[in-house]
């Protein structure tokens, strides 16, 4: 009756469990380390993507969206539905899922974030937490509590790599992460809309003066953040299966990535994600897989205590 709701999701693969079907015993120690690094960078890319999702919303609103992980879960599950119900091929199902989650992001902003007048941080925290468990609860009703598989995008034939192996899906994960991060960089650095989104949090009044409607920018950031989260959920799905409650851990890890690298600092977030992935993978492989998740949170706490602005972030003066 009382099943563990919080943490029953674990990435069901990696050095200790899952599909990478290779024999550790045939590897030298160096090759094993290399294998862990590959796994780490793969998972780290996912964390980086999720962290970027946090970052986009944070940049335009200074809100930490606790429902970020649910975007990831929804991306995966909507793709499953697209494939099973509409019999779409993976790419189309994926696009549909990304659009769907963007719309959910927009709904979240309009229905829950915007209505309260002059909300305190605690109010906003509780609202996004509420949204997160609402989405999770609804998903468990719609999709049930079983995990769903998605076939790997281009087969499961491992690619040999200096004595270790790389799963083709890993290449997909890293590739998609790289493309998304680079496009976001272009978007925020080069386009007018992108620059405006950054400006609307830093200088809401100034942004308004040059004719940027802040509330539209917030809406856009929720849509974009939903899309990025969904993409993360889709590419990781073949490696981890998708399940209604995967969002909790995914969201938290993405947040860890953002904090480690420095929230508000896109490059830092990517950096933080990859570091977290590698540390976790090495920890799980060399120490104990059971404590893998604890490692991430210990790092999170140490960062928060000693360098809350992150490795690459800068301190900013608080206005008194």
């Amino acid at each position: 009756m009382n099943r563990p709701q919080a943490l029953c999701y674990k990435i069901k693969w990696g050095p200790d469990t899952g599909p990478p079907r290779y024999d550790h015993n045939n590897m030298t120690f160096e090759q094993q380390i290399l294998q862990y690094l590959i796994t780490g960078v793969t998972v780290g890319s996912i964390y980086a993507l999720i962290g970027m999702g946090f970052n986009i919303i944070y940049n335009s609103t200074e809100i930490i969206n606790f429902a970020q992980g649910e975007f990831v879960m929804l991306g995966g599950l909507l793709t499953v539905s697209g494939m099973q119900l509409l019999h779409l091929p993976v790419p189309f199902a994926a696009i549909l899922a990304i659009v769907g989650v963007s719309l959910i992001g927009i709904t979240l902003d309009r229905a829950a974030i915007r209505p309260p007048k002059d909300p305190s941080p605690i109010t906003l925290i509780i609202i996004t937490i509420g949204a997160s468990i609402f989405i999770r609860g609804m998903s468990s009703l719609i999709w049930g509590k079983e995990p769903y598989p998605i076939p790997a995008f281009s087969g499961e034939e491992p690619i040999p790599f200096f004595g270790a192996v790389i799963q083709p899906q890993s290449v997909w994960v890293m590739g998609v992460a790289l493309i998304v991060v680079l496009s976001l960089r272009q978007f925020f650095g080069r386009t007018l809309t992108g620059k405006a989104m950054m400006a609307s949090a830093v200088q809401p009044r100034a942004a308004k003066l040059v004719g940027i409607e802040a509330s539209y920018m917030v809406l856009l950031s929720f849509a974009l953040s939903g899309a990025v989260g969904a993409a993360a959920g889709i590419v990781i799905a073949p490696m981890s299966m998708v399940q209604y409650d995967m969002g909790v851990m995914m969201g938290l890890k993405g947040f860890c990535a953002a904090i480690i690298g420095g929230i508000g600092h896109p490059l830092g977030v990517v950096f933080g994600g990859v570091i977290l992935g590698i540390v976790e993978s090495l920890g799980a492989g060399l120490i104990s897989s059971g404590y893998k998740d604890a490692i991430a949170f210990v790092i999170l706490l140490l960062m928060l205590f000693f360098r809350p602005q992150g490795i690459l972030g800068k301190t900013k003066g608080e206005r008194v």
Binding site: N2, R3, P4, Q5, A6, L7, I63, I64, F66, A112, P115, P116, P119, S120, P121, I122, T123, I125, I126, I127, I129, G130, A131, S132, I133, F134, I135, R136, G137, M138, S140, L141, V248, L252, F255, C256, I259, S288, G290, Y291, D293, A294, F297, V298, L300, L301, L304, F305, P308, V320
Partner: protein, 330 residues
């Protein structure tokens, strides 16, 4: 209306509430409901402490289930593995968790807003992982069996009714201590911190001392509740102390009204009993909690109970105005 006047005179309220607790079992026909009342009482103890932290002082904690769990596990392990008496378990867990909360509280409570939320959440998860992984002590994910039933100074509390009165006694003690704290120099300092940390500190309030102090106190309440829970159920598993339970606790505080001790009890009672009485609730429980959190925060950011009170006040005012407007013509 009654709640209105109760807020003004908490001690009169306290006496009334004691009488209510004393008489409540006689109105209950089904033994099962005594069970529910016991769990409500236990949850109320945690939520009162959490409200002191969140509602009064304005510091969020998303990891309070961990302290509750530590209270249950420490006494449970001592009892199941080394046959310690419950009272020993209580004292040890109060001391251990008190020290832990103190050490953790110092760096944690320097953080604000989202950072504090995430740090406490992270703490909760780390503790949860230890419950699961230290299986030679905790029994791992499948749980810890063989915790002795409650017995204090040779008196066994083996019937549900006697346990109900035990929990009620602890609840009343917690409540009384909390009322005293709230209505004192300490309580004012806490609310001042909530209002403006800078203003409080230029008036000489040692912010970190009071924040850490109330953090420790609320952790100790949760430990006491965990202790009562462990020796009542006599079987515990990590799943009762996870992230979701921390969220439920926050929901109880929010529903009951941030910064109202009576509200805290109301919130605990409502959210503990709802799933018990609405069978249909089971599948929708998570979604409903989520929806409640969102709606209350949007429409009644001061909490359901205060929100209703404001509504009643406004209606009374309206009624008065109507009377006034009518009287000259009549």
């Amino acid at each position: 209306m009654m709640t209105l006047s109760l807020m003004k005179k908490p001690l009169a309220g306290f006496v009334l509430f004691s009488i209510l607790l004393l008489l409540l079992p006689f109105t209950v026909t089904n033994d099962y409901y005594i069970n529910v009342l016991i769990i409500i009482g236990i949850n109320s103890i945690i939520v009162i402490g959490l409200d002191l932290l969140v509602g009064y002082t304005g510091q969020i904690s998303l990891g309070h289930a961990a302290f509750y769990g530590l209270g249950a596990y420490i006494t449970g392990i001592l009892s199941a593995r080394w046959a310690w008496p419950p009272i020993g378990g209580l004292l040890i867990s109060l001391v251990m968790v008190g020290i832990l909360a103190f050490l953790i509280g110092i760096p944690t409570l320097k953080l604000h807003g989202h950072y504090l939320a995430m740090a406490t959440l992270g703490l909760g998860i780390i503790v949860f992982i230890f419950f699961q992984e230290l299986d030679f002590l905790t029994g791992g994910p499948s749980g810890l069996v063989g915790i002795a039933p409650m017995s204090l100074f040779g008196i066994p509390f083996d019937s549900d009714l006697s346990y109900y009165y035990l929990v009620s006694a602890f609840l009343l003690a917690t409540l009384l201590l909390s009322i005293n704290v709230v209505r004192s120099r300490v309580g004012r300092a806490l609310r001042a911190i909530h209002g403006s940390e800078v203003a409080a500190s230029v008036l000489g309030v040692n912010i970190s001392r009071f924040k850490v102090g109330i953090f420790v106190l609320s952790a100790l309440y949760a430990v006491t509740a965990g202790w009562l829970y462990a020796h009542y159920i006599t079987f515990i598993s990590p799943s009762s102390f996870g992230f979701m339970f921390s969220i439920k606790l926050i929901t109880m505080v929010v529903i009951g009204s941030l910064g109202s001790l009576w509200g805290a009890i109301f919130g605990a009672a409502l959210l503990t009993s709802l799933p018990e009485f609405l069978v249909v609730f089971e599948n929708y429980e998570t979604s409903v909690f989520g929806l409640i959190l969102i709606l209350v925060m949007i429409f009644m950011p001061r909490g359901l109970m205060r929100g209703l009170e404001d509504l009643i006040k406004r209606m009374i005012d309206l009624g008065r105005q109507n009377l006034k407007e009518r009287s000259p013509t009549s």
